[in-house]
Subunit: 247 residues, 2 copies
Amino acid sequence: MTDSTARLRDTPRTRPAKAPLSRQAVVTAALQLVDEVGCTAVTMRRVAQALDTGPASLYVYVADRDELMAEVYDLALAGVHLPGPADGDWRARLELLISRAITTLAGHDDIASVAITRVPTGPHALRILEATLTLLRAGGIDDNLCPWAADLLDQFVTSSALELAARLRDQRALTAAEGAAGATEEAMSEAAGSELDAVYGDLPADTYPTIHALRPAMTTAGRDSHAYANWKLSVIIDGLLSHRGPS
Amino acid sequence: MTDSTARLRDTPRTRPAKAPLSRQAVVTAALQLVDEVGCTAVTMRRVAQALDTGPASLYVYVADRDELMAEVYDLALAGVHLPGPADGDWRARLELLISRAITTLAGHDDIASVAITRVPTGPHALRILEATLTLLRAGGIDDNLCPWAADLLDQFVTSSALELAARLRDQRALTAAEGAAGATEEAMSEAAGSELDAVYGDLPADTYPTIHALRPAMTTAGRDSHAYANWKLSVIIDGLLSHRGPS
DNA sequence: CCCCTTGACGAACACCGTTCGCCACGAACA
DNA sequence: TGTTCGTGGCGAACGGTGTTCGTCAAGGGG
């Protein structure tokens, strides 16, 4: 008896500034948790624990885990600053916008994966879509093609963010393992080109002649460079421009 | 006693042609299950049930669920036929190869999602990579750029397959719901342009002027047409070609 | 002052991936 | 031929998940 009443009185006293538990608080805590433990490890129980409450309390503000993650996705996109006139012409601005979107999303682990299941319709996603469409129009892309082009770019952003996030993640895991065990040589070789080079290198030359012939260029060493990502983006924009004149 | 011996004698007699439970049998059953109930619904328990055994038996042939899905992914890729000389020049063949990869993958629900987490190194993935690289070289793409170009195309295949699979899935769910309830009007409007058009349509014109201006072209009606996917692919190839001359 | 709506939440349900340990079976060997 | 031993098959269980239900306390309206 006294125990329960004491606990009831103590709990609010121990946490007097406890969050009023709004929808925004839930989403913010979830995003922070995504950054700390990764996307798949963000469970309703952990989010609730971060707000020190029970899992059932979250469902007052959020219908699903999916809906929560969609909200987290849009909150992550809030960190993307739109390029301004000082950033150059339309093409420079577009490349900057896309690059920022990719790096920002990849900075929150696999959060971009929610954009695969459902088309994002949050305010920040729309803000970026609006900016993208404006820049494409400024580049002279045909009005009928702009939505398609924006969709293609969005597809590129999502997949690039996921790829980058995956690389960042197992790079982090690698350095962590390196810290634990002193396998410097193994860690070095894996960090440099991962075991993918070994896979391509050990391929029989008669079955895969072209892979074998291009093996020096297949190394994943230069893959993490910004030049690679920028090259891909410029390829897409060049392709869009070649479709500008004719419908 | 008699019960147990009877059961022991009956079980093999009831299932005399029971599969010897090989790795291939597990993977095949998993792929079939993917087609029937969808990717996320493929659980170890269900795969085991399809082979009428227990979940623990699968771990003799497969280390993880991840490894199983990776194997399923490669088995799915076995269904894409490589274009031959009769299919036209290098560009026509490349476009055909990419299109086939997308539609084949999308035909097995979200199976392409395994290509996001881990780089596919199965035999069929390598077979397709080999063909892609060969066609790119035939197109005059610089040898140093071919791996990058192949990676870009692969990224495009994966994301396009996931997008297409998602559309196929909730299109199927829609027709199923239509069959259950007779909401013909609602189903029609949703099937035609989904609720995405409504989202874009109800956007305030002052906050999102470009989206509003391009609204007629933003309709998702024509999005499922093959023309759309082909256009995106041709944009990428055009972009690659514009990088052909200079390094 | 009482009632009654509503947010908070403990407990539970159904299910998941994975592991442990036992059991029966087939082959190798005496 | 009899015995032992390694191994595939698998029942049972563990720790975890998303989600729901029914209860409970608090606060505003009558």
